[in-house]
């Protein structure tokens, strides 16, 4: 009887070892690095702007004056395109919006080309911040 008990004990130990080995093979997991995030792209408040233009004696645009810009746009860059009836840009320029207390303004006097005022149908603008 004693021999039988020892034998049974040995057998149970062997069986348990096999089971334990099988369970230990289960876990293996790693991960590469990952970074992600999102941010809102907000406007400084220039849904609409008004502009005036200066024209020389030849009828070409010499500068565009943009006013009524929100103070939140101070320090941002204003881009203006002079656009004809076919929505083609005849010339465009940029100016930095200076510091201001109530509303800001900006003047653009270089458009990369000579632009006849007669051909300008509208202005297109964009403000990019830092």
């Amino acid at each position: 009887m004693n021999t039988l008990s020892k034998t049974l004990g040995f057998a149970v130990t062997v069986a348990a070892t096999f089971a334990a080995c099988a369970a230990a093979a289960t876990l293996a997991l790693g991960s590469a690095k990952l970074s992600a995030g999102s941010a809102a792209v907000t406007s400084c408040g220039v849904s609409s702007l008004s502009a005036t233009r200066n024209v020389d004696n030849s009828g070409n645009v010499t500068q565009v004056n943009v006013g009524g810009i929100a103070t939140a746009c101070s320090g941002a860059t204003l881009s203006v395109a002079l656009v004809n009836s076919a929505n083609t840009s005849l010339g465009n320029g940029q100016a930095t919006i200076g510091s201001c207390s109530t509303t800001c303004s900006a003047t653009i006097s270089s458009f990369g080309a000579t632009v006849s005022a007669a051909n300008v149908l509208k202005y297109s603008f964009a403000v990019t911040g830092t």
Binding site: A15, A22, S89, T128
Partner: protein
């Protein structure tokens, strides 16, 4: 003689029991191994680390007039604040989003060894339509 036969029978019984239990243990063990190896779903935990230790990636933009809009489009997206030291060579994905978080354009690139990363959208994206930006660095 009878005693010897009884002893032999006892030893055979013990041997049979031992053999049966050993085989049972082995089969049970193998069966568990196969289950793990063939399961389609595993489970475990691992830490997903970030290479961006210092700085905050920030999207800045340049614009250009596009007659097809018509209006200003996003010409380039310049990502500043990248952790060049730890993220150098990693894949980066920048997505410009619009109203209702719609995907306007996704641009991919590689984090440079130093400085900012300039990406150019593959399609014309109206600057006025952009309301958000998402950045992911993978690897």
């Amino acid at each position: 003689m009878s005693k010897a036969i009884k002893g032999l029978a006892k030893k055979r019984t013990v041997f049979a029991l031992l053999l049966a239990l050993t085989i049972f243990g082995a089969v049970y063990g193998f069966a568990a191994t196969l289950n793990v190896g063939t399961n389609a779903l595993g489970a475990g935990n691992a830490t997903v680390a970030s290479c961006q230790v210092t700085g905050t990636p920030t999207g800045t933009y340049t614009v250009a007039y596009d007659s097809t809009i018509p209006g200003y489009k996003v010409a380039t997206v310049v990502v500043t604040g990248l952790d060049d030291t730890n993220c150098n060579g990693k894949a980066i994905s920048v997505t410009l989003t619009g109203a209702s978080s719609a995907n306007l354009a996704t641009i991919t690139g590689t984090v440079p060894a130093s400085g900012n990363l300039t990406l150019t959208p593959g399609s014309s994206v109206s600057a006025a339509a952009v309301t958000g930006v998402s950045v992911a660095i993978n690897g």
